[in-house]
């Protein structure tokens, strides 16, 4: 079962300059992702950046992930 800590690490590794706070129960997770590179980008673009950082983990490992973003 995947842990919030693992998701945090995957996001921060896949998205340079970012920091993430992740909560969750093993099935449903919530991530608050902070990254200056979000500046000027629409919400949907920011979410895509986070999904890209997670890559294939979203295929089956992570069942549900709620994302909030901020620039700092």
């Amino acid at each position: 079962m995947v842990t919030p800590q693992e998701i945090k690490t995957w996001i921060e590794t896949g998205l340079p300059n970012s920091s993430a706070t992740v909560d969750g129960d093993g099935q449903h997770f919530e991530a608050l992702v902070t990254c200056p590179d979000f500046e000027g980008k629409r919400e949907i673009q920011r979410h895509r950046m986070v999904y890209e950082a997670l890559g294939s983990k979203m295929d089956s490992t992570i069942h549900a992930l709620s994302i909030k973003t901020q620039t700092r």
Binding site: E43, I44, H47, R48, Y51, M58, D59, A64, L65, S66, I67, K68
Partner: protein, 101 residues
Amino acid sequence: MSVAEQIKQIIENDDIVLFMKGTPDFPQCGFSGRVAQILNECNAKFVGVNVLEDPEIRQGIKDFSKWPTIPQLYVKGEFIGGCDIVNEMFENGELKDVLNG
């Protein structure tokens, strides 16, 4: 017809299309239910596509949108987002403009 072509037709046939788990009246997932509820609150006329009924569409829409999760909202053929984004747009008033625009 390939899955991508099917999906293209679906999103072109109707202005507001929600790819969801379950139906607007009987959602099978909290996030899908939330988006359907928001659309109803906006009095939006929309089509629900139940991805649980068709595994090809379920995977196909993720490939098509390059977005890994369901629900997915399309307005006039354009991908708007999933539950988080639709919820935020609803709360800041942006969604009504997109739906009516």
